[in-house]
Amino acid sequence: MAGIRIPTRLVGDSIEVEFDESVYSLDTIQRASLKYSDLASIAICRSASGSLCATATLFGDAGISADELGKVLVNEVMDQALRERIAEQTSTERNLILSYTFSRSKLISS
């Protein structure tokens, strides 16, 4: 993921972050945004160019600047994208492990 720049734009006390939808899904951005709902109100819409745009407006007591929020939001979106890759890759294993967990075979007697 190195080298991918995610454009951000300060507009007053809001920061707008533009995400390429082919790389970051709406679900990814929503999940990441949820984490900062104590600091800002984050709205997601489609920009004129068709990419997804998250606009974060800071609350008065947020304690960080809009610019900083933009940075942490971008980091969290990238983390969230990684989490989704993990979930995709491991769904078979998760089901297999759960089937062992809930199998009817006798519990280990110890």
Binding site: R31, K35, Y36, D38, R85, T90, Y100, T101
Partner: protein, 487 residues
């Protein structure tokens, strides 16, 4: 180097060169530089973000000690070995088994009458009206019957109030009846009285000796703090508690009495003094309890972030002092840390009511109120006193066990309290250590699940988890003490 018939290690490593697969794992920031990565059962490693990316993008090379650790701790597997799968299945089952035992803690509110008038208490009444505010024998009978409908092999009956010793005869009655029924049910049956000790007579002590009843009391700290938090006519609450703790230790034994604090904003600047108070009474356990939201004003839609962060400082400083005492030879455990360390370091699930997924409401603990109302938890009872009856399951005089436990609000709350399917929780590396608190979230956000970014419960727990893991990573002395607590 081995004689010719034998193959080298590299021969057996060959299959590992073909690549690896991920096992279910979660990651969350520990601090600005490091992340915690955890597997399905809470085994964890602390890694840099770059390493995690390499891990997920399959760039890690086999044959390194990092690779070996990831494989042995069940974060990855490969063609060389798939033993991780059945082992994770077994481990996950071990962690979940606890929940299948069902309700173990049964709280009996034998009276609302109390001699204290603590400002944060939602429930007690300063009155002599026994009829109006004492549990009746009929109610007690029905409650004891309901206790044994739970299949849990271990049953703990806890007497609360008001001040339960104000209705001591009923306590004696309930203990007798429960013991009689237990001749049939043969559970591991234990009793504890949560009392302010004002009415601790010799008769009470002898009864506790005869029936193996433990005592639990409130000790908020040194006299000035304790008496401010807990006003009593005569203003001598602290002295009474201290004298009676010593009396119980002498007559019944050191391990028969324990103390819990209520943490108020006043307490936050006095953690070392509070701990010293416990040490002066030779107590070996202390529970650095969180601030309670019940009765505090909570700004709608916002967490009281400031108070939670101040509390975390209180906790960290307190824990640091506790560890220091241990290093200097005084064995004392902080209870919340002990519970969390057991979840982190052992295959067991300690079963603490407030850190369970699904939540412990009704299915781990249940409250039988003096008037026969049955509540899903102690906090649910407090909430009811504030006017919100969502978690009242029914009444012993009117409703059957089945009706009460299949209450719709309860079912919905339990179902939505499963953390692996809750937003934000589902992605959190600390999920295996954490739990749900639907009553808290309903009280503070009017939603049983709540938005975790706004949750004091979440913020507090994540702060504790990060702190403990950091200590494990950076402080060898602290690590050994925490490991010992977990064992």
């Amino acid at each position: 180097m081995l004689s010719r018939k034998f193959k080298d290690l590299s021969y057996f490593r060959q299959t590992e060169e073909r690549g690896y697969r991920l096992l279910p794992l979660r990651f969350t920031a520990l601090d600005t530089e490091r992340y915690v990565v955890s597997n399905m059962v809470g085994e964890y490693l602390v890694l840099d973000r770059k390493v995690i990316e390499d891990l997920v993008e399959h760039r890690l090379a086999a044959g390194t000690s990092l690779y070996d650790d990831l494989k042995s701790k069940h974060f990855i597997y490969d063609e060389d070995s798939q033993a991780a799968l059945p082992l994770l299945g077994l481990k996950y089952r071990t962690k979940l088994t606890q929940a299948s035992y069902f309700t173990g803690l049964h709280i009996f509110v034998v009276t609302l009458r109390c001699d204290y008038s603590c400002p944060y208490c939602q429930v007690s009444r300063q009155t002599d009206d026994k009829v109006a505010f004492d549990m009746s024998q009929d109610t007690a009978d029905r409650a004891v019957d309901m206790v044994f409908l739970s299949p849990n092999p271990s049953i703990k009956i806890e007497f609360q109030g008001g001040e339960p010793l104000l209705n001591f005869p009923l306590i004696q009655y309930i203990v007798g009846r429960a013991e009689k029924l237990n001749e049939t049910f043969k559970r591991d049956l234990r009793f504890v009285i949560a009392t302010n000790l004002s009415f601790l007579t010799d008769e009470v002590i002898e009864f506790c000796a005869a029936h193996g009843v433990d005592l639990s009391t409130s000790l908020d700290g040194p006299a000035s703090l304790h008496n401010k938090n807990r006003p009593r006519p005569g203003k001598n609450g602290h002295q009474l508690v201290v004298d009676n703790i010593k009396r119980i230790q002498r007559r019944l034994g050191k391990h028969r009495v324990s103390a819990l604090m209520t943490t108020t904003l006043e307490s936050l600047s006095q953690v070392r003094e509070i701990i010293d108070e416990y040490v002066s009474l030779q107590l070996n356990e202390i529970f650095l309890r969180p601030l309670s939201p019940y009765g505090f004003a909570v700004r709608t839609g916002q967490i009281d972030r400031y108070d939670t962060d101040r509390w975390l400082d209180f906790f960290k400083d307190g824990l640091s002092y506790v560890l220091e005492l241990n290093k200097h030879g005084y064995p004392i455990r902080e209870i919340y840390s002990t519970i969390v360390m057991k979840k982190m370091l052992t295959p067991q699930e300690p079963g603490y009511v407030d850190l369970r997924s699904p939540a412990g409401i009704a299915i781990a603990a249940i409250v039988y109120n003096y008037d026969g109302d049955v509540y899903a938890s102690d906090e649910a009872r407090m909430l009811a006193e504030m006017g919100e009856h969502k978690f009242r399951l029914g009444n012993l005089h009117r409703d059957s066990y089945e009706t009460m436990l299949s209450n719709d609000d309860l079912m919905d709350a339990i179902e939505s309290s499963i953390t692996v399917s809750s937003p934000t929780c589902t992605d959190c590396a600390f999920l295996p250590y954490c739990g749900s608190d639907p009553v808290y979230h309903f009280a503070t956000q009017h939603d049983v699940v709540g938005n975790k970014a706004l949750s004091g419960y979440c913020r507090k727990n994540i702060g504790i988890f990060r702190h403990l893991i950091t200590l494990m990573e950076e402080d060898a002395g602290a690590r050994r003490i925490l490991q010992r607590w977990a064992s």
